[in-house]
């Protein structure tokens, strides 16, 4: 090896001192570089050949490692450390850090401040965002193995309004046997297909309408999750979650115990090398107490109303991915759909604050549903097109005696979306999206988005 170093050094010295070479053209430089590289390679090849011969000689003369030792003892070769020495110093145990930067330009024909899904209780911050240029949510993620038993992950979201929120902060018990994976802390629930995907991983700028109507965009759990993967060749996973249940459709209740329960089952597998799929059924049970909002009544007044009672949501989801021979690099297609059905029953108070002098509490029962279907096609490397259709069914709402004041919803909100995105590398994506939404009777919102998503730092996971 030292001969190689000397040779390279001498060559480098010549390069530095000789004025003729200093004026060398790019081509000549490239040629010299090539020669150095060849020199290096030929030395490496020779060293490797020597190693090979040495190894061959060793195997011929000495009995092998496994024979010398009792079979239970870890053989020296297997136990030996990786080739590269680990990094040392104070930063050696730093967690994997990554950041997501996003921004959007929006052109909305309707006022986003009046965004609402007709016939559905407001579920929180689901509006498409400000018109014009705006910064998206920036995300900062830290993750690492805590020790030999736990893995920790923290994802902080920085909003364009300069507020900070903890999107996910959970621990994972990695030493659990029998296919069990316990998680605890704050995390996106594993219900449905899209719920545990971060917004920057979505195929469209915004969430499907069912997620907006039934889960307030995305369902976050503060609590425990236990998943179990069945020991079968086909994928079969059962999951259960117990949480605080503060998020929509539940509310804060200031009580001990469990506020929400979730159970789901996912199945999946491959059909030949080109197709893979996953399907699931999920169930969410939670309660709301004084879920208050305002609603236009039959007389046209903006009445304060409130709901207290139980809320159950069932979700059926599937995703099918196709890539020729499983090679998603060139072209691939993804079809996904989810159906949600919600039942709520309890008490409903009309004119909660008495502003209209008509305060009335009555029984309430509602069964509402909706679905979306979307397809995304990568027609050439780095380029994808997608289309999505959203539909909501206001279903049956039984207002009891409040029917005197409130109308039964009959309008079906729907939305058509198309998008085109360019993903020059795994770490960047630019997207345009156009959609036409009819979310309330007689109102059509034409929405146009341009979005960028940049990922810095640790390599992200390729989630299915």
């Amino acid at each position: 090896m030292s001969r190689f170093v000397w040779a390279t050094g001498a060559l480098a010295l010549t390069l530095l001192t000789s004025p003729a070479v200093r004026a060398a053209t790019d081509a000549e430089l490239a040629d010299i570089r090539e020669q150095i590289r060849q020199l290096k390679e030929s030395y490496e090849a020779r060293i490797q050949a020597l190693e090979q011969r040495l190894k061959a000689a060793e195997t011929r003369t000495a009995p092998s490692v496994a024979e010398q030792q009792p079979p239970t003892a870890p053989p020296a070769a297997a136990a030996s450390a990786p080739a590269a020495p680990p990094a040392s110093g104070i930063s050696a145990f730093n967690p994997a850090i990554s950041a997501v930067l996003q921004g959007t330009y929006r052109n909305l024909s309707q006022d986003p401040n009046k965004y609402a899904l007709s016939g559905f209780a407001p579920s929180g911050d689901i509006a498409p965002g400000k018109r014009g240029f705006s910064l998206g949510e920036s995300e900062l993620a830290l993750s690492a193995n805590v020790d030999d038993k736990f893995f920790g992950n923290l994802i902080i979201s920085l909003t364009p309004e300069n507020t900070v929120s903890v999107e996910e902060a959970y621990g994972l018990y990695t030493a659990a046997p029998y296919g069990l994976a316990p998680k605890f802390g704050r995390f996106f629930s594993g219900l449905g297909y899209m719920n545990d995907q971060h917004q920057h991983a979505w195929d469209f700028v915004d969430a499907p309408l069912v997620y907006q109507a039934f889960l307030g965009g995305q369902y976050d759990v503060d609590g425990l999750q236990l998943k179990w993967v069945a020991p079968t060749d086909e994928f079969l996973e059962f999951g259960g979650e117990l949480g605080k249940g503060e998020g929509f459709p539940g509310t804060q209740r200031n009580k001990n115990g469990v506020g929400s329960g979730i159970a789901y089952v996912h199945a999946g597998g491959d059909l030949g090398p080109s197709n893979s799929w996953r399907a699931g059924l999920s169930y969410l049970q939670t309660r709301a107490q004084n879920r208050n909002y305002s609603q236009i009544d039959l007389s046209g007044n903006d009445a304060q109303v409130g709901f207290s009672g139980s809320s159950q949501l069932a979700v059926a989801d599937f995703v099918w991915k196709y890539a020729p021979n499983g090679n998603a690099r060139e072209t691939n297609f993804k079809l996904q759909g989810e159906y949600m059905w919600r039942r709520e029953s309890g008490d409903f108070t009309y004119d909660r604050d008495g502003a209209l002098g008509l305060t009335n509490t009555s029984s309430y029962g509602a069964r509402q549903s909706g679905w979306y279907l979307q397809g995304v096609y990568q027609f050439m490397p780095t380029w994808r097109v997608g289309a999505r259709y959203d539909w909501l069914n206001p279903g049956n709402v039984n207002y009891g005696s409040n029917a005197t004041y409130l109308a039964n919803p009959t309008f079906h909100p729907e939305r058509w979306s198309t998008m085109l995105d360019w993903t020059p590398s795994e770490f960047s994506r630019l997207r345009v999206q156009f959609q036409q939404a009819r979310l309330a009777p007689g109102i059509t919102d034409n929405e146009f988005f341009v979005q960028y998503i940049l990922t810095l730092g640790a390599h992200g996971a390729h989630k299915f």
Binding site: P75, P82, L226, V229, T232, E237, G268
Partner: protein, 301 residues
């Protein structure tokens, strides 16, 4: 809660059943380690290969089928050096199988036993999809299989001590036949020494080092970045000064860029199997290198 308890019970029951299994369940991330495991493990191992030769190993997702198979694996054989970084950590996290977590005997990384080449001088994503530890495509040099086979056979024996003698016997047979084959390929490939080549993706570093080929340029402007017309024109300019004999691409890669160059320069576009299953002749490890050398010799003519 009742559901959870019964799930737990079912899990324990299922585990009891699965431990009575005879063969060692091996999960190989890429076909070459599946093939090596077969050479060393014979009928004592049941091999599942997570990807195929026509799949870009950098673009694999944590598919449900992979989670299910990792859940039941006794040994995971990965390349390492960040080749599987996009999907294997996620699969391991979701599979709930403590036996095959990194650091445990059930997790084997081949790259740890090979001297990696092409360690990047500048670790920056502006340089493309670089692998910090060095080039992970170690399977293009047969000598690397000899390096990996020794610790892998030892690992088999460690996990499945009952069959240690069997693995050792197979290892010896493999090591002898493999050394002879390397010598044979070396002789056959002697005319390739110094032959200038282009590569589509920088995936043949070890092959080039082994056979003494001369890499003139890569068609991808940066590793993992799609070839652009501008960059291909630069490659054409380089070829004016330094002609190449052929352009190499792996079976899983699109032939567009190679064909583009081949048409304009009349050099041979050579598709290499890259791993076991990359073409009809590359049925096993021997076939892989028989065919690779064969195709290179034809391409160099």
């Amino acid at each position: 809660m009742k559901i959870l308890c019964s799930l737990l019970f079912a899990a324990m029951l299922a585990n009891g059943v699965s431990s009575a299994r005879a063969a060692l369940n091996v999960f190989a991330t890429v076909p070459e380690w599946g093939a090596l495991a077969e050479e060393l493990g014979g009928d004592k191992v049941k091999i599942y290969v997570a990807t195929n030769a026509l799949q870009d190993p950098h673009h694999v997702e944590a598919k449900p089928s992979l989670i299910a198979r990792a859940r039941n694996a006794d040994l995971i054989i990965a390349t390492g050096a960040e080749l599987e970084i996009g999907w294997l950590p996620l699969v391991l996290q979701q599979a709930g199988n403590p036996k095959v977590q990194p650091g445990k005997p059930g997790f084997f990384e081949a790259a740890a036993f090979v001297t990696l080449l092409d360690e990047p001088v500048r670790l920056d994503r502006a340089e493309g999809d670089v692998h910090p530890a060095g080039d992970p495509h170690i399977q293009t040099d047969p000598r690397n299989f000899a390096r990996v086979a020794t610790p892998l056979a030892a690992r088999f024996a460690e996990i499945d001590p009952e069959n240690a003698a069997y693995y050792q016997e197979r290892y010896k047979a493999f090591a002898d036949r493999w050394a002879a084959s390397i010598a044979k390929w070396g002789t056959e490939a002697a005319p390739l020494r110094g032959v200038p080549v282009l590569v589509q993706h920088k995936a043949f570093t070890y092959l080039i080092a082994w056979l003494g080929l001369k890499e003139i340029a890569a068609l991808e402007p940066k590793p993992g970045i799609e070839p652009t017309t501008a960059h291909l024109s630069e490659v054409l300019a380089i070829l004016q000064r330094q002609p190449a004999k052929m352009v190499l691409r792996a079976a899983y890669q699109s032939d567009r860029a190679s064909q583009w160059i081949a048409e304009r320069t009349k050099i041979n576009a050579v598709t290499l199997p890259f791993t076991v299953g990359g073409d009809a002749a590359a049925k096993d490890l021997y076939g892989l290198f028989d065919d690779t050398v064969d195709r290179l010799l034809k391409g160099a003519q």
